[in-house]
């Protein structure tokens, strides 16, 4: 163990010296040459565009997300959509919701907005919390570390799902998406912070940090100018892998009825309202289910690819 300390250190930290090889450009070039990654990127691009231009798109398709179309459902049969496949037609591209006839395409498009916004905001918030608190704990050690680590233990011991549901259901209605982001982030940051803490500890002892300290750099400069840039690849990997998780969590909470509330559309909430219809109108369930699944899948695959590119860069 004692023969090759420098080698071990490099392995643990993950080559902080590899500046150029792990550049954003290198990651992008590698991804563009990977078929699966390109497919995922294309799908995600569609979803993001859908989310960004939702009002324009629904103007094109002709139906808004909150418009009822009673002519599209068969009221004699309890509101089952007219036509096969859940009422898919030139009029309603993805069919309609049973009973009230809201356009599924419009709701998918607006639902993308909700899912993407919530997942990205939660990722940014957990990212900031996780990185700052993780670096504080790892850099200052002592009681700061003790305090932050105990809070992390405490949060990770919590049955997060039960607790998120309970908090969300007992809080006054308020702004649901903001509450969702806050609650998801509150339970999400320790997973990132734990990794950042460990890496900061190793980095803080390295020569270049000592050199900077010896040349008179303040703590703040040490943390942000010397240590933070070396954590970049871990932060990128952990965050990309976290996004699909947050999309799933948001959908799950909305599915359980404590997330985004109707009439606002979200994919999880659409799946939730399709539960009572799945045997007569499977498309109502299949369409939001497919979008949710494909989005999570694309993000997971992409995160996985990015990680392997970065890992390969570190090994080189």
């Amino acid at each position: 163990m004692s023969t090759t300390p420098t080698l071990l250190e490099v392995e643990e930290v993950g080559a902080p010296t590899s500046g150029p090889p792990t550049s954003t450009q290198r990651i992008l070039t590698r991804l563009v040459h990977d078929k699966a990654a390109v497919l995922c990127l294309a799908f995600l691009l569609i979803v993001v565009l859908m989310a960004a231009f939702a009002p324009l798109i629904t103007k094109l398709s002709g139906w808004g997300p909150y418009e009822f179309d009673s002519s599209a459902v068969n009221s004699a049969l309890g509101g089952v959509p007219h036509g096969s496949l859940g009422g898919i037609s030139g009029e309603h591209w993805f069919g309609v919701e049973p009973q009230n006839g809201r356009d599924l395409f419009a709701r998918i498009v607006y639902g993308a907005r909700v899912s993407i916004t919530i997942a990205l905001s939660a990722t940014v918030l957990t990212g900031i919390l996780g990185v700052v608190l993780g670096m504080l704990a790892g850099f200052y050690r002592g009681w700061v570390d003790q305090l932050i680590s105990r809070v992390m233990d405490f949060l990770m011991a919590f049955p997060a799902l039960i607790f998120m549901i309970a908090i969300l259901s007992s809080l006054p209605a308020g702004n649901r998406p903001v509450l969702l982001v806050l609650v998801i982030s509150a339970f999400g940051w320790p997973y990132l912070a734990r990794v950042i803490r460990g890496q900061t500890m190793t980095l803080a002892n390295r020569e270049f940090v000592e050199a900077a300290r010896a040349s008179g750099a303040k703590d703040l400069a040490l943390v942000f100018r010397e240590i933070l840039p070396n954590l970049r690849s871990s932060i990128i990997v952990m965050s990309t892998l976290a996004v699909p998780g947050y999309i799933g969590t948001e959908a799950g909470l909305s599915f359980l009825g404590v997330g985004v509330t109707p009439p606002t559309a979200s994919w999880g909430q659409m799946i939730s309202s399709s539960v009572s219809w799945y045997s007569v109108d499977p498309m109502f369930f299949a369409i939001p289910g497919a979008f949710l699944f494909l989005t999570v899948l694309s993000l997971t695959v992409l995160g996985d690819k990015i990680r392997s590119v970065i890992d390969a860069g570190e090994a080189a």
Binding site: F154, A157, F158, I162, A166, I167, F255, L256, V275, S279
Partner: protein, 327 residues
């Protein structure tokens, strides 16, 4: 070692107390007045007052919390009624003892968790192992692609798809109903098969990826090279040298995941209508039944925290390297 265990158990108590206090504060401060909740529609101010006195709601918060804790360890009295030792209060909705409700639901959750765990361990570890050994072949690539897909399916989506295909369309399985094993073992198995599968798939895929990565890492270690240089067979190296270090980290993760599930697989139980702890949690949250929510949260936290300690102990037993460094 004993000192270490005692220290860990001390930590457990602190964390559980913190969970307790935090849950207590949130639910009893944020939620609507429990007295009004119990009282129902035909309510008079006098009745609300008397309920407050019986529940001790007019006392300071810390006194209330202390009484709640006392109830768990020593039992407590509500007015004239006595609630014995592990007293978690009574449901606001049904007036049932919360402890009885928990113990009645626990077997279902345990059945779901154990069945799923067996499935995902077998499938995940075996799949990952084969992939690692056949690294780079079509089997490895397709298994890992499948694993990524499996990780990405939200389990309620999978649950609904399976239910639609197997129950509604093909009618090969009954709708899950959690019958007793002794009554009808066949039906019992068929009825739990879907919940097990749905719950297991995500974990199985995750474990397959982990196992593969660990085995590949271990096979690249120096001691494996030495073994190979001594002329040992590949299969023997795998079984006698590589498997143990590669699978030890899996035990840690397994312990945590399994402990988490004992506190109820909320989504799976809700989707399939199985009356376990998870469904109890969802139901009580929907009805704002605070004592039950408290109890379910505590129980789940209890399992997770205990699971943590057990995992650490098992890990030291399995991996001699940890013992050397901690001594």
């Amino acid at each position: 070692m004993t000192r270490y265990v005692i220290g860990r158990l001390g930590g457990v108590v602190v964390i559980l107390l913190a969970v307790c206090l935090f849950t207590y504060l949130i639910f009893f401060k944020l939620s609507p007045d429990p007295a009004v909740m119990i009282c129902g529609k035909t309510c008079t101010p006098e009745r609300i007052d008397s309920i407050r006195t019986v529940l001790g709601l007019n006392q300071p918060l810390l006194t209330q919390f202390w009484e709640f804790l006392q109830g768990i360890f020593a039992g407590r009295d509500y007015g004239t009624a006595h609630c014995s030792a592990p007293c978690l209060g009574y449901s606001f909705q049904t007036n049932e003892s919360v402890w009885t409700m928990l113990t009645a639901r626990l077997p279902v959750s345990i059945t779901v968790a154990v069945g799923a765990a067996v499935l995902w361990l077998l499938a995940g570890v075996a799949g990952g192992l084969i992939s690692a050994v056949k690294q780079g072949t079509w089997w490895d690539r397709s298994a890992m692609a499948l694993a990524l897909t499996g990780v990405s399916v939200p389990n309620y989506v999978l649950a609904l798809v399976l239910q639609y295909v197997l129950v509604v369309k093909l009618q090969v399985l009954p709708f899950p109903s959690a019958p007793a094993f002794a009554d009808n073992p066949g039906l019992w198995f068929e009825s739990y098969l879907m919940p097990w599968t749905v719950l297991a798939i995500g974990y199985a895929c995750l474990y397959a990826r982990l196992t593969r990565a660990n085995v590949i890492d271990t096979l690249a270690e120096n001691f494996v090279r030495t073994a190979r240089a001594k002329g040992l067979q590949r299969s023997l190296i795998l079984r006698r040298h590589a498997l143990r270090p590669a699978l030890t980290p899996i035990t840690t993760i397994f312990g945590m995941d399994f402990a988490g599930l004992l506190g109820g697989a909320l989504i799976t139980e809700t989707v399939f209508g199985l009356n376990g702890i998870g469904k109890l949690a969802a139901d009580s949250i929907a009805k704002n039944d605070q004592p039950v929510i408290m109890a379910v949260t505590l129980l789940a936290a209890f399992f997770v925290v205990i699971g943590n300690v057990v995992v650490d102990l098992v890990y030291t037993a399995l991996d001699p390297r940890v013992r050397v460094t901690s001594a």
